[in-house]
C-alpha cells in the first residue's frame, strides 16, 4: 500500500498570534509546527504502515523552511518527503493550494491520501476535500478511526453526537481529526537519518498538469479584505455566590440578555 500524507507547517498559536501591520500573519515571529490534524493523519498512516505494511510519503507546499515539518515526519517514520515550493505558488488560497497539491500527487503512485481536517492558521477544512475533487476520487472527512479491509478503507466519520461508518474503495482521500490518535514522538536516530535524508523538491515547472490560471495569489478566487486579532473583552463581572444563588443569578442574566 502506498500512502501520501499532506502536511502543513503552521504558526504555533500556543505562544500567541503575531500580526504584520497590514493584517497578515507575521509567520517569522511565531514558532512553526506541524499542523496538529496533519500530524494525526501522519500517525494514522504510520499505524497502517506498522499494521499492514505501507510506504508513507509526506508532501507539503510552502516556503523552503517548510522542509522542517517534512524532516519531523521522516524522524517519526515516514519513508519519503516531497516539498513543493516556488515563488509563483505563493499567496495561494485553498483553491490554488489544492490545485497545486493535486498536480503534485498526480506524479505519484498512491492508494490512499490522508490530510488533516483543517489547519490551525486558516481553519477552512477545504483543501483535503478539494484535492479529492481534482483527482476525482472519493473523500471521507472527519475520520476518527481508520481500518483497511482488502482494497477498501472503513472509516468512522465523526459527527457532533454520533459517527457514521463509511467504506470506500481505494484510491481515496481521508481527512483526519487530531482526536484520531496520539501521535508518536520522533526517535533520536530517526532525527539523524531525517537530517541526512534527501527531500525531493518540486517547483512550478515540475507540475505539468497544473494550469497557470489556478496558481498563486493571481489564481486564488479568495480575496482577504481584512484580518484582525480577537477583540479583547473587558474583565467582566465577578460575583461570589453560593451554588444555588449562582444558578438563579446566571439564569437571570441569560434571560435579561434574551439568550434563553
Amino acid at each position: 500500500m502506498k500512502i501520501v500524507v499532506c502536511v502543513k507547517q503552521v504558526p504555533d498559536t500556543k505562544g500567541g498570534v503575531q500580526f504584520n501591520p497590514d493584517g497578515t500573519l507575521n509567520r517569522a515571529a511565531m514558532l512553526a509546527i506541524m499542523n496538529p490534524d496533519d500530524k494525526a493523519g501522519l500517525e494514522a498512516a504510520l499505524r497502517l504502515k506498522d499494521q499492514y505494511g505501507a510506504e508513507v510519503t509526506v508532501l507539503t507546499m510552502g516556503l523552503p523552511k517548510a522542509a522542517d515539518v517534512l524532516r519531523e515526519a521522516l524522524a517519526m517514520g515516514a519513508d519519503k518527503a516531497i516539498l513543493v515550493t516556488d515563488r509563483v505558488l505563493g499567496g495561494a488560497d485553498t483553491w490554488a493550494t489544492s490545485s497545486t497539491i493535486a498536480a503534485a500527487i498526480r506524479k505519484l503512485d498512491y492508494d490512499l491520501i490522508i490530510t488533516g481536517r483543517q489547519a490551525i492558521d486558516g481553519d477552512t477544512a477545504q483543501v483535503g476535500p478539494q484535492i479529492s475533487e481534482h483527482l476525482d476520487i472519493p473523500v471521507i472527512s472527519y475520520a476518527q478511526d481508520i481500518k483497511v479491509e482488502g482494497d477498501s478503507v472503513i472509516v468512522q466519520r465523526q459527527f457532533e453526537d454520533r459517527y457514521h461508518v463509511l467504506k470506500a474503495k481505494m484510491p481515496c482521500l481521508i481527512t483526519a481529526l487530531s482526536e484520531l490518535n496520539e501521535p508518536r514522538y520522533m526517535t533520536p536516530g530517526g532525527i539523524f537519518d531525517a537530517c541526512d535524508a534527501e527531500i525531493t523538491t518540486w517547483g512550478r515547472a515540475d507540475l505539468t498538469t497544473l494550469d497557470d490560471a489556478n496558481i498563486g495569489l493571481a489564481g486564488s478566487p479568495t480575496k482577504i479584505a481584512k484580518a484582525s486579532d480577537k477583540v479583547r473583552k473587558g474583565a467582566g463581572e465577578k460575583v461570589a455566590l453560593d451554588p444555588e444563588e449562582a444558578v438563579s443569578y446566571l439564569m437571570g442574566k441569560l434571560t435579561e440578555k434574551h439568550i434563553i
Binding site: R71, E72, A75, R184, Y185, M186, T187, P188, G189, G190, I191, F192, A194, C195
Partner: protein, 383 residues
C-alpha cells in the same frame, strides 16, 4: 568555532524537551514522594530509543553521538533527576564499557538488549569500604574451571534491583608492582537471577528518591568464564575510563537540575508580589538571576565540550572531571539560590525547587566526589 547547535541537535533537543514535559514532568513529584522506580517511563523511553542513543545501529542503538545523549540526560534532569540518572547509569556505566572493552560475542549478546531498552544496565564498583579508593576493594572473583566465582558486596548501586545486566569490578589476585603488593582488579558482566547474586537493603536517600539504589550481594555466585570484561587485571583502568564517560552524564544531569531550578525561579519571581511589586523587580533578585544564568551557561559549555571530547578524543578524563565538578557545584548553588528566592514556598514540597535542591547534592558526590574531580584535574596539571 561555532557554539550553535546544528539541525540534528536542535531537533533532538525539541524531542527530549517535549518528551520530558509530557511524559516525565507530571510524575516527578510522585516519584520523589513515593520513592517508586518509574518503570512505565523507562518503558516509554525504551520505545523511543532513549536507552541507546550513542550506540551504533548495528547493536540496535540510535547511532547518535555523545552530545545527543548528554542533551537527553539534561532535558530529563530539568524535570526529574531520578529519570535522568536511570538513563545515565544505564548508558554510560553499563553499555559503554561493553561496547569499549567487550568481545564481539559479548557485544552481540548484551548490547542489543540494552540499547533497545529490553534490558536495563547497572555498574558496581563502590563497596562499603571502597568508593574512591579502588585498592580497598573486597569483592573477590576466583576462577574455578570454566567459571568465575564471585564473593562480596557492592553498595549504593544505581538501577540496583531494576537492572538486568551488571558490570561488576572485583579482585582477581595479588600482583607485585614496583616491589609493592597490589590487588589485581578485573571487570565482569553479571546477569540478574544468577544463583548466588541477591540484593540487600534499598537505600533511603535525600534526593533522586525514585532511583533504585541497592546493595548487591554475591555469595558463591558462579558466572561463565567468558563473562570477564576486557583482560584479566585491567579492571581498574576499565572502571576509571567508564567513570570518565559516566561523569559527563552526571555533569549533564547537574546542568539539567540547575536549568530546571532557574526556569522555575524566573517564572516565580515574575508572579510573586511583595511591597506592591513583583520580586523580579528588585535588583537583588535580578542580580541573583544574572549570576545563576551565567553559571548555568558556563556549565553548559563545559558539559557540551566534554561530550564533544568523548566523541573525538581517546582520553577525556580532564574534560569530564572539570565538567562534572563545575556543573555539580553550579547545580548546588543555583538550586540553593532558587529555594531562597522562593522564600518559604521554596521549602515546601509542593514546589519543585525543594526537590531540586535535594537532588542536586548527589551530583557533587556520586561517580567521584568533587574532591576526586579536583584530584583528577590537578593530577593532570602536575604530572
Amino acid at each position: 568555532m561555532d557554539f550553535g547547535l546544528d539541525k540534528k541537535h536542535e531537533m533532538a533537543r525539541t524531542l527530549f524537551k517535549e518528551f520530558a514535559e509530557n511524559e516525565v514532568k507530571p510524575l516527578a513529584q510522585e516519584v520523589d514522594e513515593t520513592e517508586v522506580f518509574p518503570r512505565a517511563t523507562v518503558e516509554k523511553m525504551a520505545k523511543y530509543g532513549f536507552l541507546g542513543i550513542p550506540v551504533p545501529k548495528e547493536y540496535e542503538g540510535q547511532g547518535c553521538d555523545p552530545l545527543t545523549y548528554v542533551m537527553c540526560v539534561e532535558e530529563l534532569a530539568k524535570v526529574c533527576a531520578t529519570t535522568s540518572v536511570i538513563v545515565s547509569a544505564h548508558t554510560s556505566l553499563c553499555i559503554d564499557p561493553i561496547l569499549t572493552y567487550g568481545t564481539p560475542e559479548q557485544k552481540a549478546k548484551y548490547v542489543p538488549d540494552l540499547a533497545s531498552g529490553r534490558k536495563l544496565g547497572a555498574f558496581g564498583l563502590t563497596e562499603p569500604g571502597a568508593g574512591t579508593d579502588a585498592q580497598g576493594q573486597q569483592t573477590k572473583a576466583v576462577l574455578d574451571g570454566d567459571e568465575w566465582v564471585l564473593n562480596g558486596s557492592k553498595c549504593f548501586i544505581t538501577n540496583g534491583k531494576e537492572a538486568d545486566v551488571y558490570i561488576i569490578i572485583a579482585v582477581t589476585g595479588i600482583v607485585e608492582k614496583r616491589g609493592r603488593k597490589m590487588k589485581e582488579i578485573s571487570a565482569f558482566i553479571v546477569e540478574k537471577d544468577t544463583p548466588g547474586f541477591t540484593f540487600g537493603t534499598k537505600e533511603k536517600k535525600m534526593g533522586i528518591r525514585g532511583s533504585s539504589t541497592y546493595e548487591l550481594i554475591f555469595e558463591d555466585c558462579r558466572i561463565p568464564k567468558e563473562n570477564l570484561l576486557g583482560a584479566q587485571g585491567k579492571g581498574f583502568g576499565i572502571a576509571m575510563h567508564t567513570l570518565d564517560g559516566g561523569r559527563i552524564g552526571i555533569a549533564a544531569q547537574a546542568l539539567g537540575i540547575a536549568e530546571g531550578a532557574l526556569d522555575r525561579t524566573i517564572a516565580y519571581v515574575k508572579e510573586r508580589k511583595q511591597f506592591g511589586r513583583t520580586i523580579g523587580q528588585f535588583q537583588n533578585t535580578q542580580f541573583q538571576l544574572a549570576d545563576m544564568a551565567t553559571k548555568v551557561e558556563a556549565a553548559r559549555m563545559m558539559v557540551y565540550k566534554a561530550a564533544m571530547a568523548k566523541a573525538t578524543q581517546k582520553v577525556y578524563s580532564v574534560e569530564a572531571a572539570q565538567a562534572k565538578l563545575y556543573a555539580a557545584e553550579v547545580a548546588m548553588e543555583v538550586t540553593t539560590k532558587a529555594v531562597q528566592l522562593h522564600g518559604g514556598y521554596g521549602y515546601i514540597r509542593e514546589y519543585d525547587v525543594e526537590r531540586m535542591m535535594r537532588d542536586a547534592k548527589i551530583t557533587e558526590i556520586y561517580e567521584g566526589t568533587s574532591e576526586v574531580q579536583r584530584m583528577v584535574i590537578s593530577g593532570n596539571l602536575l604530572k
